[in-house]
């Protein structure tokens, strides 16, 4: 019996195929090439810089006020009283509010609150959503009760949950973040659960199970890494809507305490005199709109690159 003949051209055909493989661009290169990621990312970068550099951007302490400098128009010069009681000259680039506080300083410092709340909410809701989603998708006995609770949360409009929770707890940075994050959890949970249900059928998970790998290790070591891309996209959108919700809470007077420099608070203070001084509402409003827009554009870009299947749907 002779061995089956090996085609003579097998080795050469392999090597020509090799030569045909085009160097695939890495994810980072794809991201860097996408316009949405560039624009959204750049705008976010500028906002982060503004937030970090707030003290050196010609601002004063955002809680300082001066009765002599009330209701100044943008660009007007006036005085402001420091905590030590000294009067210093200050140019009010965006005018001042009815307490004589510098709106420019409050808007610039407001960037910090908005970004912190947005990022923290995204992190908290993704973290809790991942834990819940992995559990529901992998521990069958937990699936039904957990998902029914999530359905219940989703049936209550998110902003109402946030408003009610902040009203019940004392409004602080932490309570605002948690209150905004909670209604976002079910969406993340559903996403992770759906991913887990499809990934757990993959051969490599079956292989891991048959090798006796622990459930914990399969969940976090094998399944979780495959959910990262959609989660980044989802997290970005949560970040945008959380910044928006924070501003709404402050604006309605149920968010962070009013002396806190948040964009919503500045607008809430300014709305009373909107007819005479519309800029008190418009300056923080522009910052808020640009921030949310930047994060949303970034999110759309990330979705296009990281999650092409979802990008096709919308």
């Amino acid at each position: 019996m002779s061995a089956p003949a090996i085609p003579a051209d097998l080795s050469t055909s392999l090597s020509t195929e090799d030569a045909n493989i085009v160097q695939r661009a890495s994810v980072w290169q794809l991201l860097a090439r996408h316009w949405g990621v560039r624009i959204g990312g750049a705008a976010m970068g500028v906002l982060v810089l503004i937030a970090l550099a707030a003290p050196v951007l010609g601002t004063v302490d955002p809680t300082l006020f001066d009765p002599g400098s009330r209701d100044l128009l943008p660009g007007a010069s006036g005085e402001i009283t420091t905590l030590e009681g000294d009067s210093i000259k200050h140019q009010f680039m965006m005018g001042s509010d009815s307490f004589g506080r510098d709106i420019y300083s409050r808007v610039i410092y407001g960037t910090r609150v908005s970004l912190i709340v947005g990022l923290a909410c995204a992190l908290v809701s993704v973290l809790l959503g991942v834990i819940a989603g992995l559990s529901a998708g992998y521990l069958r006995w937990l699936d039904m009760p957990l998902m029914r609770v999530m359905d219940g949360i989703m049936a209550i409009p998110g902003i109402l949950i946030a408003i009610a929770l902040v009203a019940l707890w004392k409004a602080s940075l932490l309570s605002v973040i948690v209150a905004i994050a909670i209604p976002e959890i079910p969406r993340v949970t559903r996403l992770v659960r759906a991913l887990v249900l499809s990934i757990r059928e993959e051969p490599y998970v079956e292989a891991a199970i048959s090798l006796g790998t622990s459930t914990f290790k399969i969940m976090f070591g094998h399944i979780l890494p495959n959910t990262v891309a959609p989660l980044i996209v989802q997290g970005t959108y949560i970040c945008a809507s959380a910044s928006l919700t924070e501003a709404i809470l402050s604006f309605l007077g149920v968010g962070l305490p009013t002396d806190f420099p948040t964009w919503g608070n500045i607008m809430a203070e300014g709305r009373v005199q909107f007819q005479q001084f519309p800029h008190n509402v418009f300056f923080p409003g522009i910052f808020l709109a640009v921030t949310v827009l930047a994060v949303n554009i970034l999110g759309d870009g990330l979705r296009d690159v990281l999650d092409p299947k979802m990008a096709k749907k919308v």
């Binding site: 949360i153 902003i159 149920v254 919308v314």
Partner: protein, 313 residues
């Protein structure tokens, strides 16, 4: 079909029950003592204890829930701490403005968004398509209250065309009623337009690549009939779905819009109740809004039967 209706309606019962449990628990998480809040700052401890007894707050949590849930089923949402009237009566009192605002918003949104979405899908990649997609990203991003103030500033203060704020009951004449409603509805509809237009575009685009569209064109049907009768009719289900899902956005928007425009509806009531820490009212309003949201999505599901005869449950 009847079996489907019964099954679908039965499926909403557990959701509504869980919502009730969550709303009940939500207010039990509060660190403050409701009895102390009702009694006010100057109350004696005996007074507070008496109120607590009256409200049944000293009973076990599950018993409290049972009593509360029984009352809710009977249409009794409790009495407002602040307004000193029944919450159900309060909601009925405030429902007209909210209903008018929501209805107007949905009508504007659908009338604007659906044609735009269809046209954008028809000329995919054209200027209208690109403009619509940019608008939709912006529509999602611009906060409702910022947009509200921009519109008030231009339309009411600079041009003087419409009243700055306030609400006129429909009983007081249709024109004043409409006049006060236009600006808030337009404001609120922008985010909704963004959402619906985007989904309409995606859905119609998908249908337009089907074979029967080519057939319809090949047999010489005019393009508008192809777009409306063949494309839009078959793309309806996702559009109807997103209109239903968008009601959650709408409710959030109502709360903000009513505050900006000084409309005395349910959204304003929510904010007033929260500021006054009026727990029964907060509870009642959230329960009511959630109930409406679940019911609308039930209607949406049922409407599939009408919009897509292929669906047979």
């Amino acid at each position: 079909m009847f079996a489907f209706l019964v099954k679908r309606i039965a499926a909403t019962v557990p959701v509504l029950f869980i919502v009730a449990v969550l709303v009940f628990l939500l207010l039990r998480l509060t660190p403050g003592d409701p009895a102390a809040i009702i009694a006010g700052d100057a109350a004696s401890p005996e007074n507070v204890a008496k109120i607590r007894e009256n409200l049944g707050l000293s009973k076990p949590l599950i018993v409290q829930f049972g009593i509360w849930f029984g009352n809710v089923l009977a249409g009794d949402l409790g009495e407002s701490y602040f307004f000193k009237v029944k919450v159900a009566a309060l909601i009925l009192q405030r429902i007209e403005p909210t209903l008018a605002l929501s209805f107007c918003t949905i009508v504007i949104a659908v009338l604007v968004a659906v044609p735009l979405g269809v046209l954008a899908a028809w000329r995919q990649g054209g200027w209208l398509d690109r403009a619509l997609m940019s608008f939709s990203v912006m529509g999602f991003s611009i906060p409702v209250f910022v947009l509200a103030y921009i519109l008030i500033w231009i339309v009411s203060l600079k041009l003087g065309w419409l009243p700055v704020q306030g609400y006129q009951r429909i009983a007081g004449g249709f024109w004043p009623f409409l006049q006060h409603l236009i600006l808030p509805s337009v404001t609120l509809s922008v985010i909704y337009i963004a959402l619906i237009a985007r989904v309409t575009r995606a859905s119609v685009q998908e249908v337009l690549s089907e074979d029967y569209i080519r057939t319809a064109r090949a047999k010489g049907l005019p393009e508008n009939r192809v777009l409306i009768k063949h494309a839009l009719a078959n793309a309806a289900v996702p559009i109807i779905t997103v209109i239903g899902i968008g009601v959650a956005l709408l409710i959030g928007g109502v709360v903000v819009t009513e505050s900006v425009y000084g409309i005395p509806g349910l959204g304003r009531l929510t904010v007033d109740a929260v500021l006054a820490r009026d727990f029964p009212t907060i509870q009642g309003v959230i329960l009511f809004f959630s109930f409406v949201y679940v019911l609308i999505n039930l209607l949406v599901d049922v409407s599939y039967l009408f919009f897509d005869p292929r669906i047979r449950y």
